[in-house]
Symmetry: C2
Subunit: 146 residues, 2 copies
DNA sequence: TCGATCGTAACAGTTCTTGTTACAACAGAT
DNA sequence: ATCTGTTGTAACAAGAACTGTTACGATCGA
């Protein structure tokens, strides 16, 4: 599959909007944002649509329209972004039910469900510990030393 | 996409082989294993082929052929299985390079790389803490109470 | 030599992602 | 009221991954 870069796209968008907002440009068009990502504005609008559904950004239509953050970037964790994108689980159980007559087939699904839940929890802990503001700060710091 | 159930398949296979081995059947055919998963033997052989490349199982061809574990199930972690399958990273960076003239586009990639590495590390810690023997034991325990 | 099984290629069907074009809906500006 | 820029969304193509199937050569014990 084309690897999943939706989280990268969304975090990039929010970091860029946060920087622009700090510089006084509170409202940005999808075309302006797309320029930073070097991609198509529709890609950006799709991503922004999901972020809006989660309440992280708001949009306005018509002339002079655009997108703006609804919260400060220090209150948006990468986990919030991840959840806004509605990611599917990392690991799936059997696509079709295993043989329930077999002792393993009979009992393994709840066990793996628990394992996968623990993994998911660990991922959420990691993502929840970083905010968009953190990412932006590190990004700008890296720029200085580079 | 069809969600990724390869880890589920592989762990199921190994747990089933471990139980059979404990019962005295050290060598199993892909067809026998496939019966427990209620799937096609080729699916099982594909998975077993990856596990063999990682040294977790061995195969013999010809008459009376089949597959057997090369280690005790208590020495195979779910992480070993995961690594044997050569999983691709959970999150990817931008599919095409962002605009490097933009401060965010310029510096964000190493930052996200670090974030994703931390997530991957957390996943590995979780998976590394459980063995195939653990999964089998819990599976059989669940069967008794069910 | 026979027969069972591995090992692997080829193909179909499904789903997801990225990227593109197109166009209606909207709302401020003139 | 009309113009204009932007959102919002649909439709489509190309590419990739996974599951599942059929097919068949390679291997090796009996």
């Amino acid at each position: 599959m084309a690897a999943n870069s939706r989280l990268t796209i969304a975090v990039h968008i929010l970091a860029w909007m946060a920087l622009a907002s700090r510089r006084g440009r509170e409202v940005m068009t999808s075309e302006e944002i797309a320029a930073s990502l070097a991609t198509n504005p529709v890609i950006v609008r799709r991503s922004l649509g999901e972020l809006r559904a989660a309440g992280l950004v708001a949009s306005r239509r018509g002339a002079g329209a655009g997108w703006r953050l609804t919260r400060g970037p220090e209150s948006i964790t990468v986990l919030d972004v991840h959840d806004a994108l509605g990611a599917e689980p990392l690991f799936a159980l059997h696509p079709s039910a295993p043989n329930l007559e077999c002792p393993v087939g009979h009992g393994i699904r709840p066990v793996l469900t628990e394992v996968y839940a623990a993994v998911d929890e660990a991922v959420r802990r990691e993502l929840g510990g970083r905010t968009v503001a953190d990412v932006l700060a590190q990004t700008l710091a890296a720029k200085e030393t580079a």
